[in-house]
């Protein structure tokens, strides 16, 4: 399958944080959920993809092109929603339309105004008069209105109520169906991703922990709930991490089917991305 985005061995060093050999691939037409706790490196990775930060090592290819060499060409086809970064709030959607017409060759004013209408956003109101949810919708509409082939979304649903979140996620899904494009969506609200993401890439403390299809992850991985005695009978190679709670052990296993065949432990729960994140971050290895 053709990859729209390829990140290989991306490294970036700050005084108090290091991005270590981040590598993942986003196939064409897919939605990838990019998960990890706050400060794990999601935003830094997205900023590197966009060259907002520059002094990094590694290779990034978008649409098969080097992101530094062909930056201008590539950016014509990328739509972006960045956490807390947008147009100055004294501007109106009308101003955004005028601005973007002069920036993107493919800017589609009709699509922009149709979307504003669909989401009941008034074109002549200043952004500062919008609620957080309305503002987020405007950011997303702005990112979609030049028919991008790749959407890079950094925490696009954070701070939204469940109804607004559902609307926004629906918007992404219809976008991917209509436009045949790909989305890299970073979020720490993992329940959103379980519904729409085809792939999950998990970053922790600047390192990619796993990058798999969502189905593979949710079907194969599992949480074994067992006693201390049962836990001690499990071989180290059969689990990834474990957490000791007040009454039991919660053990993250990479292949629940194989585990069931090997061990006579009854309780193996389906995993959620939340469980996965918590166990990967807070769990112990030995």
């Amino acid at each position: 399958m053709e990859n729209i985005l390829e990140v290989k061995n991306l490294c970036k060093t700050y005084d108090n944080f290091v991005l270590k050999n981040v590598t993942f691939y986003l196939p064409k037409g897919m939605i990838m959920g990019f998960i990890g706790e706050n400060g794990a490196g999601k935003t830094t990775t997205i900023k590197a993809i966009l060259n907002i930060i520059q002094s990094y090592r590694g290779e990034i290819h978008i649409f098969g092109l080097d992101n530094r060499k062909y930056e201008k060409k590539i950016k014509e086809d990328i739509g972006v929603v960045l956490d807390d970064m947008f147009f100055p709030e004294i501007l109106t959607p009308n101003d955004i339309n005028q601005t973007m017409k002069g920036i993107y060759q493919n800017w589609d004013s009709k699509k922009f105004y149709d979307s504003l209408k669909e989401f009941s956003l008034l074109p002549n109101k200043q952004i500062k008069t919008f609620s957080k949810g309305m503002r987020k919708k405007l950011e997303i509409i702005t990112a979609l209105s030049h028919h991008p082939k790749l959407l890079l979304l950094d925490e696009p649903t954070s701070g939204l109520d469940p109804v607004a979140r559902a609307e926004v996620l629906e918007l992404f899904q219809s976008f991917i169906e209509e436009e045949d494009c790909s989305i890299l969506l970073s979020s720490h609200i993992t329940t959103d991703l379980e519904h729409i993401a085809d792939y999950i890439t998990f970053i922790n403390d600047g390192e990619i922990v796993l990058s798999k299809t969502t189905d593979e992850l949710l079907e194969q991985y599992g949480i074994v709930k067992c006693t201390e005695k049962e836990f001690k009978s499990i071989e180290k190679k059969d689990y990834i991490k474990y957490k000791k709670t007040k009454y039991e052990y919660e053990v993250l296993v990479p292949d629940k089917k194989a585990f069931k065949e090997k061990y006579a432990i009854a309780v193996i729960d389906k995993i959620t991305l939340d469980d996965l994140m918590v166990l990967m971050i807070k769990g112990e290895e030995e």
Binding site: I52, D84, F87, P88, Q98, T99, G102
Partner: protein, 210 residues
């Protein structure tokens, strides 16, 4: 670049009312024969443009704009072009008003005097832009204010010391032959300093990380 310019000019919209009031005040004061405040309007334009940096900064526009094609380059270029465009537009308006006021009062128009005065004003505003913009791009609006204050303070102190202890009249004498070319010289120096300022700002932004 056009898109970025439209955005900067749109941000000035909310200040147009203030500019309109200043134009009325200037016209009334001119007719009443009070002091000449024609320099205020172009200076106001620069100040309003500088205020747009604060809005950009508050909403992290600079980082966001890098996600656009040629975002780094065009955002800087647009800021300079929009500012110069506004300065020239308001200067032409002020010039026409000055002609009108002079003619209404004396039935004659002192073209040369008004031109020279306006040229001085434009040069002064471009000088502010030349120094302020690279400093703003480097340090941000808040720190830039302190840097500018220190810079002006330093220049005044050094100027005072130089004039107090050294006889600088030889410089004036040596440059007296340029008197006839003053207008052309001022224009050339203005273009050169703005160009250098723009190149410095462009370089700062091309390397800046957000």
């Amino acid at each position: 670049m056009i898109g970025f310019m439209k955005k900067d000019l749109a941000m000035m919209k909310s200040n147009f009312k203030l500019l309109g009031i200043l134009i009325v005040v200037y016209t009334v004061m001119g007719f009443l024969g009070e002091m000449d405040i024609s320099f205020i309007l172009p200076f106001m334009c620069v100040m309003i443009m500088i205020s747009t940096f604060s809005y950009d900064n508050y909403n992290k526009w600079d980082a966001y704009s890098i996600s656009f094609p040629d975002g780094r380059k065009n955002s800087v270029k647009a800021k300079y072009v929009a500012t110069i465009f506004m300065i020239l537009a308001i200067s032409v308006l002020t010039l026409l008003l000055s002609f009108l006021i002079a003619y209404a009062k004396t039935k004659t128009i002192p073209y040369e005097q008004i031109f020279v005065s306006m040229l001085g004003t434009i040069f002064g505003t471009l000088l502010v832009l030349t120094f302020m913009y690279p400093i703003i791009y480097k340090f941000g609006v808040e720190k830039a204010r302190i840097v500018i204050f220190l810079l002006v303070f330093g220049i005044v102190i050094i100027g005072r010391i130089l004039t107090q202890y050294l006889d600088l009249s030889f410089i004036a004498k040596a440059l007296s032959f340029l008197e006839n070319y003053l207008v052309i010289l001022v224009i050339l120096v203005a273009i050169l300093m703005v160009f250098i300022s723009y190149k410095i700002s462009e370089k700062i932004i091309s390397k800046k990380e957000f």
